[in-house]
């Protein structure tokens, strides 16, 4: 099992969800995050003092999947989030050792979906 973590642009969340659904990946968790990457920030100014803001609004997605779902998940995220412009985001994959469904206590691949 793998844990897939992705940072995407906020306005792409719906598209990514759509693409995941198409590939029958229904369970995801989302948090809002600030990201500092290649993308240029913007300038905020307030009462004469300026600041370069380079922590931009991003959305962090966490999806735990069985190994055979890794590629579809990656494909879905790319299909939904790619614009080709800087700031599209990243996907990270981490090994997931165990997964437990709190409701039933089930573990492993059965619990993940």
């Amino acid at each position: 099992m793998k844990m897939i973590i992705a940072y995407i642009k906020p306005e792409k969340l719906n598209a990514v969800k759509q693409e995941l659904y198409k590939r029958e990946i229904f369970k995801i968790s989302v948090t809002n995050a600030l990201g500092c990457g290649q993308q240029k920030g913007y300038h905020e100014s307030y009462r004469g003092a300026d600041e370069e803001v380079n922590l931009l609004k991003k959305i962090r997605i966490e999806i735990a999947v069985n190994t055979d779902f890794v590629q579809p998940t990656i494909d879905a995220i790319i299909a939904g989030a790619q614009t080709g412009k800087i700031g599209d985001g990243k996907i990270f994959i981490v090994n997931l050792e165990e997964c437990i469904r709190i409701r039933t206590g089930e573990t492993g691949s059965k619990a993940i979906g």
Partner: protein, 440 residues
């Protein structure tokens, strides 16, 4: 753009030099000093109440839109009060109330730039059995003027360029509003027709509404509002703020309608208070039931719209409608406004705050209702007024918007619209530090 504005400003200042300090107290011959003082103070209190409507609009409009555009909306609303008052002093007042200086039939006249209080009794405005000073007249009317432009502000929120909007507002409030107003309140041709618009269902609310309609059509909907032909909800970000706005507007309406009696006449003012409040209450109840039935849940934003719908609709006839007629006008406005929101939405005319439904549709309904419910007014005259003012405002708005569209442009670039006007136009955030989650 900045330079242009700066120049206008300079001209204003210079021309206004003609304004002079009042020349000592004087009273109109016919009424007692006491009565003069009472009437005048009431008109000033009413002015103060109308003023707070600008805060009402600012909070209502920002409450019903998204956090990323809040600074922008607040900014526009604050600027409009200022621009409205200054242009009205410079030119609007002279275009709207010029005594009898008609230049073109009873359609267009001009009494001169700036403010100058005529000396002696001539400076006193005798109206409706009362009287008040020239200055009172100006400041009360000036406060009204800016509201028309504010109505547009809500409808074009979240996508219009700031400078374009400000230029539009300046011209609309300086020219279109007062000329239309002169037809009726300035004793022009509509007044001759016995057209009745007590406090501005047509001359204020519809004037704003028509401008808004043109703007909404020229601008197009916000990105993400209509996806594959389906309307998507774009939630307002702050319901307490929207509620504050609505109730402050009602609060201000005591001055808007109560002051439009133009004197402190006890029967008239108190009667107007009653019709105004009952229509607002009826609008609330009706919109609530309509929304409850049609949307399954009662939608607060609709109820707020319903309150304003009742107020806008009763405004044309607050002095002449019977109590029951006022309630019926309020109820129907409350139903109409909900349906109108659905209608504009299905036409893909994206109006984030419901300004078209409230001010345009209910402004028209209220004006026509005077013709329906009051025998002394003809439905035809009322209809003529509605149509004439509508045609003039649409033409005027188009004439102002098109040059702007083809020079500096009307609409924010898509990327900036997505990031939000607060960052892109003002370089600041409305709720710094708050975590805002949005995928719109």
């Amino acid at each position: 753009m900045l330079k242009r504005l700066a120049k206008i400003l300079a001209v204003t200042a210079i021309i206004l030099i003609s304004g002079t300090v009042f020349a000592g107290a004087s009273t109109p011959a016919k009424i007692s000093l006491e009565m003069f003082t009472i009437n005048n103070i009431w008109m000033l209190v009413a002015t103060t109440l109308v003023f707070i409507m600008h805060l009402g609009f600012a909070t209502l409009e920002s409450g019903l839109t998204r956090t990323k555009n809040t600074v922008n909306i607040l900014y526009k609303n604050v600027m409009i009060v200022a621009i409205g008052l200054l242009t009205y002093a410079l030119i609007g007042f002279g275009l709207m109330y010029h005594g009898d200086s008609w230049l073109l039939g009873k359609c267009f006249g001009f009494g001169g730039f700036g403010l100058t209080a005529p000396a002696g009794d001539a400076g006193l405005i005798n109206y409706n059995g009362g009287a008040y000073t020239y200055w009172t007249d100006f400041i009360f009317q000036g406060m009204f003027a800016a509201t028309a432009a504010t109505i547009v502000s809500g409808a074009v929120a979240e996508r219009i360029k700031l400078d374009s909007f400000l230029i539009f507002s300046a011209f609309y409030v300086a020219l279109i509003y007062p000329i239309a107003g002169s037809w009726g309140w300035g004793k022009g041709w509509l007044d001759r027709l016995h057209f009745h618009d007590f406090a501005g269902s047509t001359f204020v609310h519809s004037v704003g509404g028509w401008g808004a309609l043109v703007a909404v059509m020229l601008l197009g909907p916000r990105i993400g509002k209509y996806v594959n032909g389906k309307s998507k909800p774009i939630w307002g970000h702050n319901m307490p703020l929207a509620t504050i706005g609505t109730l402050l507007l009602w609060f201000g309406w005591f001055g808007f309608n109560g002051g439009s009696v133009l004197s402190a006449d006890p029967q008239a003012v108190s009667y107007v208070f009653v019709t105004t409040c009952l229509a607002a209450a009826a609008g609330i109840v009706a919109a609530s039931l309509t929304s409850w039935r049609l949307q399954k849940h009662p939608d607060l934003s609709m109820v707020l719209n319903g309150c304003l719908a009742g107020l806008v609709a009763v405004t044309a006839g607050a002095d002449v409608l019977s109590i029951s007629a006022a309630i019926i006008v309020g109820i129907s406005a409350g139903i109409i406004v909900v349906l109108a929101v659905f209608m504009f939405d299905s036409l893909q005319l994206d109006d984030p705050v419901g300004a078209l439904s409230v001010h345009l549709v209910c402004g028209i309904w209220g004006t026509l209702a005077v013709g329906l419910f009051c025998q002394e007014y003809s439905f035809l005259s009322q209809l003529t007024g509605v149509i004439a003012v509508g045609a003039f405002c649409v033409l005027g708005a188009v004439a102002i918007f098109l040059p702007i569209k083809y020079t500096i442009g009307l609409r924010m670039p898509a990327d900036d619209e997505i990031r939000g006007l607060d960052i892109c136009e003002h370089g600041m955030e409305s709720y710094h530090g708050f975590q805002i989650f949005t995928n719109q």
